[in-house]
Subunit: 422 residues, 2 copies
Amino acid sequence: MKKVGLALLGAGTIGSGVLKVLKENGEMIKNREGLEIEVRRILVRDKNKKRNIPVDPDLLTDKPEEIFLDESIDVIAEFMGGEMPAFQYIRDALRQGKSVITANKEVIAKHWDELEDEARKSGAGLYFEASVAGGIPIIKSVRRSLQANNILKFMGIINGTTNFILTRMSEEGRDFADVLAEAQRLGYAEPDPTADVEGYDARYKLSILSTICFRNRVAVDNIYCEGITKISADDIEYARQLGFGIKLLAIAKKQNGKIEARVHPTFIPLSHPLYAVRDSYNAIYIEGDMVGNLMFYGRGAGDLPTASALVSDIVTACQNEGAHHRTRLDEEAVAFEKDWKDEYYLRLVVSDKPGVLAEIAGILGRHNVSLDSVMQKLRGNDKATLIFITHEAHEDWINGALTEMRSHPSVISVESVIRVER
Amino acid sequence: MKKVGLALLGAGTIGSGVLKVLKENGEMIKNREGLEIEVRRILVRDKNKKRNIPVDPDLLTDKPEEIFLDESIDVIAEFMGGEMPAFQYIRDALRQGKSVITANKEVIAKHWDELEDEARKSGAGLYFEASVAGGIPIIKSVRRSLQANNILKFMGIINGTTNFILTRMSEEGRDFADVLAEAQRLGYAEPDPTADVEGYDARYKLSILSTICFRNRVAVDNIYCEGITKISADDIEYARQLGFGIKLLAIAKKQNGKIEARVHPTFIPLSHPLYAVRDSYNAIYIEGDMVGNLMFYGRGAGDLPTASALVSDIVTACQNEGAHHRTRLDEEAVAFEKDWKDEYYLRLVVSDKPGVLAEIAGILGRHNVSLDSVMQKLRGNDKATLIFITHEAHEDWINGALTEMRSHPSVISVESVIRVER
């Protein structure tokens, strides 16, 4: 029986989850995996704070070096969150030859190359399944089950908070601000919800996952990012009438030798498997050139789903000792596509006069944008709402058309511009 | 660079898929995985048959021992299908210390213990991701990503043919025989469709997957099996009115220390993620005690999705050489639950007389079966259709009630009895 000394960096919600998994299923892991995992140290900021975790207080320490230099520690699990000091701790631990398991999306998105380098040098393992989509084993699946595939594309719902908000808006016809306030009351959204609702959280995860999929570093700076704060109940209702739902998607594609990566609200058909992903669930819909389309669905956050991924990585790290799996990036760097093509949903308020629809459609046509469908609704007060779904168009074609529309005398306002994927 | 000698047993559709993957993505696999896979022999029944595969005819052989005794062969991929002679070939190859990758659900369902034994003795690897759900990496995910979980339950759409048929019936209001004939014309169903439509194919896969999930041998004989031949367009329409869809599910649960495993048509809510799995797609919805619900979705068959899984296993087998992963079954054997509980959908044709509904509901009540919902439809000719969704009830309660109903003077026929899962 292999015995493994584990140290935890952090003793909050996720830490309690890891302790619970080891307490309840440790015996099962021992029998099935031949591995006895023993928690030997826990790093905390304040040793004297009262805690609800069922753990010997003697294990607590506030000195990271006590952990990194402790010979009885083989593996370190980090889930403090934030870039600093987590990055330094992970680096120091790897330098000491300790394998590191982390749930830290920000550190991995920003520093993976450097950390992977340290790991190679010391022979330690570096695993971060929990950093993307919580309990869903997407990273290991891409690395260890899709080796035969050139990944062409994926679209992911990888932020549970925004998916919860959009689901409530969609199913109850409510507005963004209203649902956000409820989500905050329920603890599904942070008091400062910026990182979630502006897409920054999803962008870190997209950076990691697209790097793994395309074997090319996709830095956060190369990812376009737009949040869901401007989505209205009206847009969701019009979407439904047109056969679509609205989701915040993290999208990455590799085509014509270029990578494009972006986070933004997206129309997807009601029949798309991603549309059925409700509430705070996450899912990644991924296309390989050989396997076709796959989808991975599950809990993207929460103490126990995250702990499930962390403990799985701990087991993997111990079983791979001496032969840790390394993800090789391709030698040839791939360029980034900035001028991507998409279909668009456009919603305008215009003066209700004869010929306006033809004039607006004419503007789109002059900018090479052709139309898939058009809807016109009277609003009263001599106003009308025009709704278009375009065929595929370049960003700059759309932007050119929008600029011209905004200065057209009959256009009162351009209310919404939302991309469409199928 | 590690060079690996591969032999293929079979040169049909799947074999062509494997050759295509290696031809198109072999260079990528070499660069990313550090592994050069070379096809060195291909076992065929008739060496002189004309073939459409792009391969040196000198590689073809009709003598299996030429492969098993060939020192230049490290790994053998089998996809001949059928129990014999595939089982003997796999066993012989393992005895010679060759790792075996197989897509053969029947052989693994029936002979895994013996083959695993041979593999352990010779130190060879035995991998069979492609035997369940084609391109979906469900076996590796359960084995290598869910180690921290006690798997409580899963429900799978693991037969593409029947899912295609049920999807067409559901979306086009057509009858079983009609859609089956179309599926046969299109090549989605075999000329003899028995193995698919009676659930036998799904039962082999369920046997393998439940054994892996519960770490207890779930033999085919322990699995209840019922096909989709009796599902009518009427049932599908009534299901929709009640908020359900009908899918052929492979279900396995472990509760109160017992395992239950069964394949049968099932009502699931329209909002369930499995309902969105359309056409020939497969999906497995699985619940772990820590990770909660996960779903894995993708192509369950086809040359390239199957080849994707086979080649992934080939890479894994080569990288794990000397330390092949073995799935340990639990030492304590678990009993099988035969008297499971379920909710039920019942459809009866009765005489349209006052009091009939109350009498039938009374029969159900006397057998402890309580009702979730009731629907009554007039049919003309003094007949009415009664539809019930029951609360959870034991099989024998339902059977008792059905026996009594069938002999009730007002009951003309019991048309349908379909289980409900949520």
